[in-house]
């Protein structure tokens, strides 16, 4: 059976913030298009750093990254990012619609105006996340779940191929969590999704594959998740994980930096 095209390729990547202290070491993996990946691991294990590297905000010490066969620092790179809503200033004077329109920044005219098409896309994204009636509401007055959906709408508005979410249900009421997951599941036909999460139950239920990030990265099926993980004990030996079994294209190998 023919493999799907690869959306993300990481080849022998090493990165750290201070000399001789790598946060990620010899990391290699590949993600196919339309996969829904759960990214788990202990705090400080390198999950957020890995996502920043994929988005091109950080540059690897060694190794290479390919996003749709291109280096991630070529913006716009096809990636949309949904951060945690806690990081935003609730007093910032901005409406939901203005935030969603920011997904179309790369289409702005020289004179700083959005086209009709941009407005249409923003409205469509708001409809998709069920927030159209909140379009003129100040962002800071939304609930945690609504904020998260507004940020997802902004991400969708940029027509991404890859969607990276940082704990999308971390500040969302338990009863609204399911809405977020249903939305993500409906998007997986069109997008490759990477979701950083500590919610092991959600990983078991929804994702197609898991990346365990703990200085190194191992990938495995959700069915191999161990109940110890929910307690924060992320161990390798008991699972049928693989550190080295991954397909990479010529692009990733030829761009290898050492």
């Amino acid at each position: 059976m023919k493999n799907k095209p690869l959306a993300i390729e990481v080849y022998d990547l090493t990165f750290g913030y201070s000399k001789n202290e790598p946060v990620l070491e010899n990391v290699s993996f590949a993600i196919e298009e339309n996969e829904f990946i759960g990214v788990i691991g202990p705090n400080g294990g390198g999950k957020s750093t890995l996502c920043k590297l994929l988005m091109g905000f950080l540059r690897p010490w060694e190794g290479s990254i390919a996003i749709q066969k291109k280096v991630p620092t070529n913006y716009p790179n096809g990636i949309a990012y949904v951060p945690q809503n806690l990081r935003y200033d609730k007093l910032f004077p901005i409406s939901v619609f203005e935030i969603v329109l920011q997904g179309r920044l790369s289409h702005l005219s020289f004179f700083g105006t959005y086209s009709k098409e941009d407005h249409k896309k923003a409205l469509h994204a708001l409809e998709l996340v069920n927030l159209i009636e909140f379009k003129d509401v100040p962002f800071g007055t939304l609930s945690g779940g609504q904020m998260q959906r507004a940020l997802i709408a902004r991400a969708l508005c940029s027509d991404p191929q890859i969607l990276i979410l940082d704990e999308p249900t971390a500040n969302v009421d338990i009863e609204r969590e399911q809405d977020v997951y249903e939305l993500l599941l409906s998007l997986r036909k069109e997008l490759t999704i990477l979701m950083i999460t500590h919610d092991i139950q959600a990983v078991i239920q929804h994702v197609s594959r898991v990346l365990l990030v703990q200085k190194h990265v191992v990938t495995f099926e959700p069915k191999h998740l161990c109940e110890h993980f929910a307690l924060g004990l992320y161990h390798y030996p008991l699972i049928g994980a693989s550190k080295s079994h991954f397909p990479t294209s010529d692009f990733a190998r030829t761009n290898f930096k050492k």
């Binding site: 905000f57 004077p93 901005i94 702005l108």
Partner: protein, 278 residues
């Protein structure tokens, strides 16, 4: 009312000062709104104080070295833009020690200015005027200069507003969208430095931050839209200038301090009333 305002308007000094105040308020209200929402008041404070180095050096060159074609105002612009670029570079590449370096730029700028002004004849008057402002110094030529800078800054803001809004709200998202975030950030700091020099002529270096942040902070209490916040901020700034100048005219107070005290009083009052409403 007419009896009260007529002597003010009929005085050319006061009239020019009022127009200068309004022109500076316009750009101060707009750029000040970015300063408040991006939470870069400390950075702006450093820029505003470091321009004193440019004033001091250029004043010394003009008076002591006899270079007549330069003026302290040009020195202020040069020092403002230079410190904006230095602080911007530190923010982008050296965040770990950002606050200490910004504080150093702040104090080095002030110290350089004081040193050079102290070596310039008649420095006591100059020092006071630049530090606490003297809007009654404004000439017709200054007004044209203020108007040109207003047009330049506002035109740039009109074209760049969606991009500036994006970098103020979320720099990472703007980067992912291919926006040149670093360049825009440096441009924003440069616009702040130009605004600071404009406001300096009204209220002086020490009180510039009052006019840059208080109108916008009050406006932020009453609206949740940045463009409206800018409009309210401009209106408030003009009002503070008018009230401050009237107080200064009738009670013989220093104009800069009168304007700043008016702004401060309105801020305390608005905080109190908003809390009552909440």
């Amino acid at each position: 009312m007419n009896e009260f305002l007529l002597p003010l308007i009929s005085s050319p000094l006061f009239f020019y000062a009022l127009i200068a105040g309004f022109l500076a308020s316009f750009v101060g209200g707009v750029i000040g709104s970015y300063v408040v929402v991006k939470r870069i008041s400390f950075i702006s404070g450093s820029i505003s104080h470091s321009i004193f180095a440019g004033i001091g050096i250029f004043l010394w060159l003009e008076r002591v070295k006899g270079i007549s074609w330069i003026s302290p105002l040009e020195g202020a612009f040069l020092a403002g833009i230079l410190s904006a670029l230095i602080i911007g570079w530190i923010h982008l590449h050296y965040r770990q020690r950002e606050d200490s370096v910004i504080a150093a730029v702040w104090s080095i700028g002030m110290a350089l200015g004081i040193l050079f002004v102290s070596q310039t004849p008649g420095y006591n008057v100059e020092l006071t005027n630049y530090l606490v402002g003297n809007i009654l110094w404004v000439t017709k030529q200054d007004l044209y200069f203020l108007l040109i800078l207003d047009i330049l800054v506002i035109s740039l803001v009109v074209i760049l507003h969606p991009r500036l809004l994006a970098i103020c709200f979320d720099e990472e998202q703007a980067t992912l969208q291919g926006i040149k975030v670093h360049r825009l950030y440096l441009l924003l700091l440069t616009l702040i430095s130009i605004t600071v020099v404009l406001l300096m002529q009204i209220v002086g270096i020490i009180l510039v931050m009052t006019m840059l942040t208080i109108p916008a902070t009050i406006a932020n209490l009453y609206t949740k839209q940045l463009s409206r916040m800018m409009a309210i901020s401009v209106a408030l700034s003009c009002l503070f200038c008018l009230i401050g100048m009237v107080l200064s005219f009738y009670f013989d107070f220093p104009t800069g301090a009168s304007i700043a005290m008016t702004a401060g009083t309105f801020y305390v009052f608005s905080l109190f009333t908003r809390r009552q409403e909440a």
